[in-house]
């Protein structure tokens, strides 16, 4: 079983939700990333989504969009994200999910990514703009290399699509909490509950919910429904505010701890 699968199995046995943290790789700098990830892990993040920056992030709101611009300006590439995974593996066994748009991965090559990501110690990959219809050339090489492929399920997905999303996913299924782009919101969308129920009926895979979860209260509410909770923009906003200053790691760690405490409370 993959690190991702093991994580969800273990947490399920402990009856604890999984906290998933997204950060954009390369922001504030490629060199700083291992220390950011270590801080998130100390604060209680169980799984890291490593955002691969892209020039045209159509699914992202302003916070992650600006982080992508900063990361690209700092020289981040998919190859360097894999270097980062390798560096993280020297210090930690935390599961790492690559989170990217399709084009950088397609340019790199699916088979080459599968081999290199596995060798670097990454555990899987999610491609925001890859529909299950177009996914075969991506899923086959990654699975063959022992990597998980995670797909998005949306409130707009009809039942037939939910089934196909689950069929193409391994590790977990990522549920988009609401129609819209990434970014914080003041309250949890009402569409989460029905979406979780609908997917539960179609797959035994763990379900994680993301998009718009930014407070310990929202994390707690989400954790009652799903196996995992994804927080992205709220972490990235801390990176934006702290920049490369010395307060960055302590702030990330403290916020992760607040989320974790909230979720488990």
């Amino acid at each position: 079983m993959s690190r991702i699968g093991e994580l969800f199995t273990r947490k399920r046995a402990e009856k604890k939700p999984v906290l998933i943290g997204y950060i954009t790789a390369g922001d504030p700098s490629p060199e700083r990333m291992p220390s950011l990830i270590a801080a998130l892990e100390r604060g209680g993040v169980d799984l890291i989504e490593l955002g691969v920056p892209f020039s045209d992030p159509v699914a992202d709101g302003p916070v992650i969009m600006k982080a992508s611009e900063r990361a690209l300006a700092a020289g981040m590439t998919l190859a360097k994200v894999l270097d980062l995974a390798r560096a993280v593996r020297l210090q930690s066994e935390i599961p790492l999910l690559l989170f990217s748009y399709l084009n950088p991965v397609m340019r790199y090559g699916f088979s080459k990514l599968a081999a290199d990501a596995k060798a670097a110690g990454a555990d899987g990959c999610l491609l925001t703009d890859l529909s299950v219809e177009e996914a075969d050339e991506f899923v086959a090489p990654l699975r063959e290399a022992g990597l998980d492929t995670v797909f998005l399920a949306a409130p707009t997905s009809p039942p037939e699509r939910l089934r196909r999303v689950a069929d193409h996913s391994s590790g977990f299924v990522y549920l988009v909490s609401r129609t819209g782009v990434t970014g914080e919101q003041s309250r949890l969308s009402a569409s989460v509950g029905p979406l979780v129920e609908s997917l539960r009926a179609r797959t035994a895979l763990p379900l994680a919910v993301g998009f718009g979860i930014s407070t310990p209260e929202q994390a707690r509410e989400t954790a009652r429904l799903a196996d995992g909770v994804v927080v992205g923009s709220a972490f990235v906003r801390i990176v934006e505010a702290q920049g490369a200053g010395p307060g960055l790691e302590p702030a990330l760690e403290a916020f992760a701890r607040a989320l974790k405490t909230g979720m488990e409370g």
């Binding site: 159509v58 998919l78 084009n103 529909s131 399920a153």
Partner: protein
């Protein structure tokens, strides 16, 4: 060379191109658009309403005009212009907007969003929304807003809200991204009226079909006027909607050469042009797979063209397919040549073309002297009023109180 397939497969693939590459949230809405569009094709009342609007509101069929003074000045091929610039709102864009706004109405949408580069699609969208009483929001890069101020004002006059996009290259690409973000957030109420033969299926084929009338009319008009088909059809290619509309009726006519003209900008160097077939490689952007200007890491390159409507990093997927099959060829025209072509058409024929259309025209002008006896058809996709500020900047000797009457020396912008 003959083309074996004129239609994409059920998933919208033109060979290896096209398809549907969007976040999952947009998949079901795209399926809804596809379903409504398929039904509308079979629905005679829809088709009758569209035909009536194209004729009596937009002004179809458009004229086919032989540019005799231009041809005489060049010495060589005969040149015919398909006058899409005479349509209401000043460009071919209205064809697609009328089709899609009827679809939006059928789907029960009350709000329409669009992106625009040169502003022609934005104006056409604002126009049809005014006509149907729909709320209209147009996304436009801030750089494009600055260089197409007239069209920004026209949209506002028509009741649309124009939202500036101030990140990335601040041009068409970023306007599309912002429109996609709006759509994914407001899908329940909103139709995304995409303005070119780009994006996820069904947009490339649907937009093409709404523009097919260009080539169908032109083909019949050429036969009627000259008793023969043209030897070569020229059209500018940004996303490629006017070109695919002009080309499509000629695809089975293997003897008719089809030439798409991309924006060469300042020349073929990274970031200085928008000629996707000259430096681009297959990639995925904003819903579709096609030729894309990108770097070695798969990041999309910035583009440049004096013409906002051609200033885009990806070409429509059907063009990629026609390119690979060799059924159409794609060249490019730099800013200066397009500006000189615009001036020449203005002075010889009394027609001021849009800068986009001037690119297609420039290639016909370049080739005409060497091809006597040949018959050229140029799709004059839009008129140049919107570009007056650019023309004024490039030809300063024509501005001011006592302008010189001579041929200006500009055209090197």
């Amino acid at each position: 060379m003959s083309v074996t397939k004129l239609e994409p497969d059920a998933q919208g693939h033109f060979g290896p191109y096209g398809g549907r590459y969007v976040p999952e949230t947009l998949m079901a809405p795209l399926e809804d658009v596809e379903r409504a569009w398929m039904q509308s094709r079979e629905d005679s009342s829809f088709q009758a309403e569209l035909s009536d609007l194209l004729k009596n509101f937009a002004g179809r069929p458009t004229a086919l005009y032989e540019a005799k003074r231009l041809a005489e000045a060049l010495g060589g091929a005969r040149i015919f212009l398909k006058r899409e610039d005479l349509l209401h709102t000043g460009a071919h864009k209205i064809n697609n907007c009328l089709g899609q706004v009827l679809l939006a109405k059928r789907m029960g949408k009350r709000r329409v969003i669009a992106e625009t580069g040169a502003g022609q699609h934005g104006v056409a969208t604002a126009t049809v929304c005014a006509l149907f009483g729909m709320e209209c929001v147009v996304y436009m890069g801030e750089e494009d807003m600055a260089r197409q101020r007239l069209n920004v004002f026209r949209m506002r006059l028509l009741g649309a809200r124009v939202v500036g996009v101030g990140y990335g290259s601040k041009t068409l690409k970023d306007a599309i991204s912002e429109a996609m973000r709006d759509w994914v957030t407001n899908i329940a109420t909103t139709h995304y009226l995409l303005g070119s033969a780009l994006g996820a299926h069904p947009y490339p084929v649907m937009v093409r079909d709404f523009h097919r009338c260009i080539g169908e009319e032109a083909r019949a008009q050429m036969l009627e006027r000259t008793g023969r088909l043209p030897d070569t059809v020229f059209a500018c290619v940004g996303g490629g909607s006017n070109a695919i509309g002009a080309f499509h009726a000629f695809l089975p006519d293997a003897q008719v050469e089809l030439v798409g003209v991309e924006a060469g900008g300042h020349g073929i160097r990274p970031g200085e042009h928008a000629a996707r077939f000259h430096g681009g490689a297959p990639g995925v952007l904003q819903g579709s797979r096609s030729y894309l200007l990108q770097d070695g890491d798969g990041q999309v390159l910035l583009t440049h063209s004096v013409s906002a409507g051609l200033d885009y990093a990806m070409v429509g997927p059907e063009h990629a397919w026609l390119h690979d099959q060799g059924r159409a060829s794609y060249t490019y025209c730099e800013d200066g040549a397009a500006l000189r072509a615009a001036l020449q058409l203005s002075r010889t024929e009394g027609i001021i073309p849009a800068l986009e259309s001037a690119h297609g025209l420039a290639e016909a002008i370049r080739r005409a002297p060497g091809e006597p006896g040949k018959v050229f058809l140029v799709n004059l996709s839009g008129r140049g009023d919107k570009d007056i500020d650019i023309y004024r900047a490039v030809f300063p000797e024509l501005d001011g109180d006592e302008p010189a009457g001579d041929t200006p020396q500009g055209g090197t912008a």
